[in-house]
């Protein structure tokens, strides 16, 4: 766990024209699809929700429901065929560091750069001077517990450490909204639980707004403020659940909420996965 110190960067604010209370991210009637074997296939039919500054939104849904597709659209890799996505007042989105993404794959790191360089390089790309970029990278790597791995190359790291580097890299960019696409999906259950806890404590200390895609109910409950439940593809929002007050995993409210989300997903015919650590 990082030492619970003073919050970082409290002065960072979204560059929104509408002021602080306006949603940072607004997803309205978004429709998304892709060209597959059978022509154009709709993955997301009608999805809408708002995300307030510093809010942690979890998008959950059955496999293939288009939750990752939705995240890619917010990141700017895909353009919706219908509806609109507004981030801090901007609508036509191309990929950019204001929506830094942490992916699931371990090889999202630059294999030819050291851990420190992996975090400092994107800052250099975005106009920081070398010394400033390195200092900032130091700070975020310490935040994610990697102070002893600065000079290592990614192939010398475990899966959990690679994901920490990716998280440090994304946080260092100080995004308007941090996008995470099942970042712990390839980790073993123990590492996964540890990283969830660490992410929570990091988010408490940074003014980060988070959109996190997962298919794990426990991950949603541990990390989220609100959970957007998607239905089967072509998907729409089944329900948006507030999970702020469910308490720790052993509390009755948590168990109750867990059952409720399970029921919601089971209605979609989803084999709900069990996170052994929390059961």
């Amino acid at each position: 766990m990082p030492p619970s110190g003073t919050p970082l960067n409290t002065e960072r604010r979204p560059a929104s024209a509408e002021g602080l209370d306006a949603p940072l991210l607004r997803v309205e009637h978004v429709q998304l699809g892709y060209w597959g074997a059978k022509g154009f296939e709709l993955a997301v039919d009608d999805v809408g929700f708002d995300v307030a500054p510093r809010e942690k939104i979890i998008v959950i849904g059955p496999s293939g429901c288009g939750k990752s597709t939705l995240l890619k659209a917010i990141a700017g890799f895909l353009t919706p065929v219908g509806g609109s996505i507004t981030v801090a007042g901007r609508t036509s989105l191309t990929p950019g560091p204001d929506r830094a993404v942490v992916f699931q794959e371990f090889d999202q790191l630059f294999a030819w750069r050291t851990v420190l360089d992996n975090v400092a390089y994107p800052l250099r790309v975005n106009g920081r001077r070398k010394a400033a970029a390195r200092a900032e990278a130091h700070k975020y790597l310490e935040l994610t517990g990697l102070e002893r791995a600065f000079d290592r190359y990614p192939h010398q790291l475990s899966g959990g450490m690679k994901q920490r580097v990716a998280i440090a890299r994304a946080l260092a960019l100080e995004p308007v909204i941090l996008l995470m696409d099942e970042p712990f999906g390839s980790l073993d259950a123990l590492t996964r639980a540890r990283l969830q806890g660490e992410l929570n404590s990091i988010l408490d200390r940074t003014p980060t707004t988070l959109l996190f895609v997962t298919h794990s109910i426990d991950e949603a409950l541990v990390l989220g403020d609100r959970v957007v439940v998607l239905g089967n593809a072509p998907s729409s929002v089944q329900e948006i659940v507030d999970v702020r007050d469910v308490g720790p995993p052993d509390s009755p409210a948590y168990a109750e909420m867990r059952r409720r989300l399970r029921r919601l997903l089971a209605e979609q015919g989803e084999e709900v996965d069990e996170d052994a650590v929390f059961v």
Partner: protein, 279 residues
């Protein structure tokens, strides 16, 4: 927070196969001993069978010829001439390969063209193009440069374009996400990602080119002023200077080992160090 797992398992903890005698010697001792035995057999054959020195000479005479050839500059000049032709030819080849690769990476028709051309041209022994080149360019250096360029274009182009096309989509997405321009994405992300393929293309190109240039000189002699090492061998044959022929062969083999070593060093400093190729 500390990382729980370290990536590398200490090699010492792994059970090692029990090795005795020969296998326990260091590799350079083993190879050195075999080398010495082979030289000894060579010397023994010459000492006992006493072949006509116009046909075959021993290691001592070969060494003498090698020493003389390098000291009076005749063998050095020939070797230099061959390397010069190889360097210029490979340079032209790499340039054409770069154009083809860019075309093949940007357009589908370019990719199809490159794959088709490579599958036709790659199986052709480089030196087989020489008679045609002589017809085009006359009996001069341009003909041999054309032949070398042709021998090196295809392995370089096909390897680098494969490298570009097989770049992990996640790392390319990360590059766009952190705000790289298309040009910087190509130079800072795609190029290093394709480096393992690029190096193996250059290795193949060097091997093809080296064989081609020596063969071309053997068959067609000197092009223009100075003769290369192939010409040197053929000349020595005309004058029945067997020791000189063997000395030139030793030079060619030694250069081959030298280039392999240089490529090995390049790989260890880059792709092996970065875990993109296991040594």
């Amino acid at each position: 927070m500390q990382s729980s797992s370290s990536a590398a398992v200490p090699a010492a903890s792994l059970p090692r196969p029990r090795s005795v005698g020969w296998a326990r010697l260091p590799v350079w001792v083993r190879r050195g001993l075999i080398f010495a035995v082979l030289i000894g057999l060579w010397q023994a054959y010459v000492s006992y069978a006493d072949p006509d020195p116009l046909v075959f000479v021993g290691p001592w005479d070969t060494l003498q010829a090698l020493w003389d050839g390098w000291r009076d500059g005749s063998l050095a000049r020939a070797t230099w001439e061959t390397l010069r032709l190889l360097g210029i030819g490979t340079g032209i080849g790499a340039l054409v390969a770069a154009v083809l690769t860019i075309f093949a990476t940007l357009t589908k028709i370019g990719e199809d063209l490159l794959i088709l051309l490579t599958s036709i041209m790659n199986p052709l022994p480089g030196v087989a193009m020489l008679p045609l080149a002589l017809l085009f360019f006359g009996l001069n250096t341009n003909a041999v440069l054309f032949t070398i360029a042709n021998a090196t274009i295809w392995p370089i182009a096909i390897n680098i374009s494969t490298g570009f096309r097989t770049v992990n989509p996640t790392i390319a997405a990360v590059g766009r996400n952190i705000g790289l321009s298309p040009i910087r994405l190509a130079t800072d992300v795609l190029a290093p990602s394709a480096l393992p393929h690029a190096i193996s293309g250059l290795k193949t190109a060097w091997a093809f080119g080296w064989r081609t240039v020596v063969a071309a000189e053997l068959v067609f002699g000197a092009f223009g002023g100075e003769g290369g090492v192939g010409f040197y061998i053929n000349n020595a044959r005309l004058y029945l200077l067997t020791a000189q022929m063997l000395a030139a062969l030793v030079t060619i083999a030694a250069l081959g080992v030298l280039f392999e070593t240089l490529f090995g060093m390049l790989e260890r400093r880059t792709i092996v160090r970065w875990g993109m190729k296991t040594s």
